[in-house]
Point group: C2
Chain length 367, copies 2
């Protein structure tokens, strides 16, 4: 739609050169970095993720590194989820909330050592927030943005490719667990994770000078499985019910509203940021919840570029926070953030830019 140029303010990832060599044509900005979004064949890229193995430059998934004697204490202060049993080598999905209980990011927390953690974040400046809380509480911990850059292999054949490069031990990695190792001398951490529900791994490069080299090792290794470039795919993540914090949430969204309550432990220590608010919200019950929308019509519609109002019996009851064409459902689908008075099965109208569209509400995920 617009032309977009990288600038010194919007950094490239160490994989961008490799991504451009693959024919990258579309990108967006995420955590002030260039985020590849398409290589020119969105439908082919989608089916490669669903049926094969797709290689992603997700260097925009930055790490907020906590290092020092109080690193573990800070991690627990920031995350309203019980980390007391988290082991070195384990990762956990943690919704981060502000003091009001509003979700502001949803990283994977990786425990690398008792005094070293990474928060592998979505799109917001968690460094400043975490650093302010650490300093205000007088903790002995350094908050930084280390030289660490994820690349992902996603899809049902990703495991075969990664095992081919690193050995069959990777097949034994549990979800979100990781191991630090080397790939032909390149330092990495490898984790079973990734922003899709098609399975796969994220490979955290720990030396930004070697991005192209690492990319090409996996590219070559993946040839027998038909590997090709791709990116987090909106149709797949919406079908799979994955939340995009900042896109599907607003300035007042709490984790319980967007199906993330199961990642909140209300019995974490009282000094956890936001926990008092989360306990209160939980006790009072939420006013909104998140459902899926299946819209009428069998042809792809323009995707949404902003929240669109949802009407039920002529009254505004919520908003559609994303929309996409689902190649597997052959329907236009989206997420509703909507009053709890309206439930799955109800018929609603979405006030789209081209006019109202009828839709029915369903439980998430779609697939």
């Amino acid at each position: 739609m617009f032309t977009f140029f990288p600038t010194a303010r919007v950094r490239p990832s160490p994989f961008l050169e490799a991504a451009m060599a693959e024919g990258l044509v579309a990108a967006n900005v995420y955590n002030r970095m260039v985020m590849p979004t398409s290589y020119g064949d969105p439908e082919g890229e989608y089916w490669r993720l669903i049926n094969g193995v797709s290689q992603w430059d997700v260097g925009v998934e930055r790490q907020v590194q906590l290092r020092g004697p109080d690193a573990g204490r800070l991690a627990q202060i920031l995350a309203p989820r019980d980390l007391s049993t988290c082991k070195v080598g384990q990762g956990k999905y943690v919704p981060l909330c502000n003091h009001k209980g509003t979700i502001i990011n949803d990283p994977i927390l990786l425990k690398l050592a008792d005094d070293l953690f990474w928060l592998s974040i979505a799109d917001s400046d968690i460094w400043f927030w975490a650093g302010a809380i650490a300093a205000e509480r007088g903790l002995d911990v350094e908050v930084s943005d280390p030289d660490v850059h994820p690349m992902a292999l996603q899809g049902p054949k990703a495991e075969d490719v990664v095992a081919h490069v690193l050995g069959d031990w990777v097949r034994g990695l549990k979800y979100f667990w990781f191991r630090e190792t080397e790939v032909q001398g390149i330092p990495v951490a490898i984790q079973r994770s990734g922003w899709s529900k098609q399975g796969g791994f994220e490979i955290y490069l720990k030396d930004s000078r070697r991005g192209t080299e690492l990319w090409n090792i996996f590219k070559e290794a993946g040839q027998p499985w038909g590997i090709g470039p791709g990116a987090p795919a909106t149709p797949e993540r919406v079908e799979s019910g994955l939340v995009s914090v900042g896109g599907d949430t607003d300035d007042e969204t709490n984790p319980f509203e967007v199906r993330l309550g199961k990642y909140v432990n209300l019995d974490v220590p009282d000094d956890t940021v936001g926990i008092q608010a989360l306990r209160r919200i939980h006790a009072e019950g939420v006013k909104r919840h998140q459902l899926g929308l299946v819209m009428d019509g069998a042809a792809p519609m323009p995707f949404g570029t902003r929240a669109e109002d949802i009407l039920h019996n002529g009254e505004k009851v919520g908003k559609m926070t994303n929309s996409t064409w689902s190649p597997r459902m052959k329907a236009n689908i989206g997420f509703a953030l909507i009053s709890v008075s309206v439930t799955a099965g109800a018929s609603v109208q979405v006030m789209r830019p081209g006019g109202p569209v009828a839709a029915r509400l369903v439980e998430l995920p779609f697939l």
Copy 2:
């Protein structure tokens, strides 16, 4: 270079529709919003800013609103600049620093009332940081992102256009002072400010439904002065020595290194965030400073997309944080963040992607 699509995560501003009607072709992302950057004629847009009047969608300049009994106290806690004499209707440029004295943003602070302030920010999530500090200190203040969206008129003829619409009283506004008023019933605040050194005003729209209407009022009014669309122009801001926080600064840059020491008051209260560190840094003296680079060669070079090393007598002494062709200087210029052992007048080499380029160091601003 890449195609870029707005998404629900990357919001449009209320002026984007008007900007697209003007023929917008290039954009970037700033504060998770679409930031228009060019209408297809960068050189014409530059000269319009230098010689005439240029109309900018700068809705990406978000407001961090502080409201409540402790709003003034929080403002002073966040800003290492004396605000004790700041009056209602006055604005002040304030470098914001973290607890280590590292600059993390450089907003204009607007005092709208004793209990109401806006920080009109550059590109980073100051809401989370400010909100965390307010909550950790138990202050009675609400931190929010209000329905406020700046549009700018910049250039030597901007004042005539704004006076034509709003009256000759605007000619009496001092730099960074503002007034809340209406334009044909549209609520706005109007301030003498803007991200150029060519003079002009920022008009803060306080009702997002009326962006196109406000745009067109000034567009029509500006016809006799040859108004046209534009955007913050890298060549002009570099010539003028304006710092881009996040582009020209890194994770360790303090205000004294980048010529912002004059906006820091070391005698602000001891509970100001970062002031202990800033006093220590000031007492010890900085290790780096910011200078201009004038490169050899009379033809425009590709602009920089990342920091480039600077060598002096074969040793790395710093980095070039931006570069651009200057139409007025007819030279490639840039900013150096460089060891204080190297001063204006020295000859250096910039390690550009296409090979080393000779340059000489000069004081900033260039013009």
